[in-house]
Symmetry: C2
Subunit: 276 residues, 2 copies
């Protein structure tokens, strides 16, 4: 695991690392923020999954998690959103709106993406093991994310509740099997057999499995992508199932990082109260 | 004055505006953050001048001023760093390290930059008048900035103490007449007569004029550009002149926005205490 860059930030360190990934069959990068408390002891981990349209760089620079993580004593791990490199088939472009590096936090089963697009296993197993081995982290985890990353956070946590103590999401892709965009993403990576899709749909998973704790979801009321995000499906399922938690529609906010960093402090606090 | 974009942010609005500038002879853009308090009353203004290597966009996205300005009830105006457009001679490139849009917050006296590169007059007079006319602002002003923008903040305030109540700077170009990079910038825009340079050197201005209040300067201890910034010249002059204020060398911090946003809260608080 090599250090690509590091910067002092709010008394801690914001770093980018590179490592060879067996799961993805290529060199992978990720970012990690270690708060000042990590100089003296292991700290719990908050996973932040980025949206599909950008790599982790944008979230590291703009989501504003460092200040709050420093105050609350959490590390933040920012995985990349897709495998990279000349040997990796490119899936999705900015033009077809699947995102320039569309991994959608699944293990792809269709060629040519099958060998490399294994972000689900990569994050849950390989990267989790790597950071626990190499960084001063407690084996206690929360997970959040924005847009497609919110989808990733919810689906990874719901399917693996023993691996996470807390889950939140910001403008998540909440019900992709029922949106045109989500169906395109799932059929591209998993093929046309829709029975394989439901384990990657937060609303269907919540309906089937529930969640052991409470859930926080924030959604901008002026988000231009409400049709593809479908927060109403998740909110209805939470209410019908009596799932503890809250879906907050935030008046006037859009889908941008101005929305994400406005509520970053609430999400870090939520996780800190459940991890510490 | 046209709205280019606007986003809800921390209960206020982060907008970008465009307007024709008589001073610069071209269309100019700037960004403005209006805190939630501006919905009910006029609020004081904090000017944030960006470094020469980037436009205002990077600071708007990454400096993290919105959260603190919302808490303290200040507007933040982010002017651009140079005139723009096809009719404007390009001054400086990333390659020659004068910055891709080098205006250096002076009124240029050399051709071909003389007609458009008038950022000093533009900010102090045209833009100040424009925002006071069109936005819910009190006519009370503080000013700060990063790198070349810190130079701009200090030099504009020191020369126009009746126009600003407070001044701070983050890693400012503090003594450009004595650094190789600063001398290149000044000779490019103002010519080789060094007697015209001293009114654009914060250290020389402070020595001559002092400042009516106290001054806050933050400087990363691991900044790679200490030779061109020369904080030691400013610190020595402040101490010799018994100028109230503080120059803080921040251990481990570099020149990046990770440094700027770590200390953004301190600077906004400093100005709020002197403006409110």
């Amino acid at each position: 695991m090599d250090i690509v860059s590091q910067h002092r930030s709010f008394g801690g360190v914001q770093a980018v690392y590179s490592h060879p990934s067996n799961t993805c069959g290529c060199e992978m990068r990720f970012a990690a923020y270690l708060p000042p408390q990590a100089a003296d002891r292991d700290v719990p981990v908050l996973w932040y999954l980025s949206g599909g349209a950008e790599g982790f760089d944008a979230a590291v620079a703009r989501a504003g998690f460092q200040e709050h993580a420093a105050r609350r004593g959490l590390a933040v791990i920012f995985p990349d959103v897709a495998p990279r490199g000349d040997s990796v088939a490119r899936c999705g472009t900015a033009a077809d709106d699947l995102g320039a590096g569309a991994g959608f936090y699944v293990n792809a089963t269709r060629d040519p993406w099958r060998p490399n697009y294994r972000m689900y296993d990569y994050i849950l197993h390989e990267l989790r093991g790597l950071v626990l081995d190499h960084l001063p982290l407690e084996d206690r985890h929360g997970i959040t994310g924005h847009a497609a990353g919110g989808h990733g956070a919810l689906t990874l946590a719901l399917r693996n509740s023993e691996m996470f103590e807390s889950v939140t999401a910001l403008a998540p892709v909440a019900n992709p099997t029922s949106s045109e965009w989500g169906r395109r993403q799932l059929s591209t990576l998993l093929g046309s057999d829709e029975t394989t899709w439901s384990v990657h749909d937060a609303t269907l998973l919540l309906d089937e499995l529930g969640w052991k704790g409470d859930i926080l979801v924030d959604q901008g009321g002026d988000d231009a992508f409400l049709d593809l995000l479908r927060p109403q499906a998740l909110a209805a399922t939470m209410a019908r199932r009596r799932q503890p938690g809250q879906v907050r529609i935030q008046k006037g906010y859009d889908h941008s990082f101005y929305f994400v960093n406005t509520f970053a402090g609430d999400h870090v606090q939520w996780h800190a109260e459940r991890l510490n």
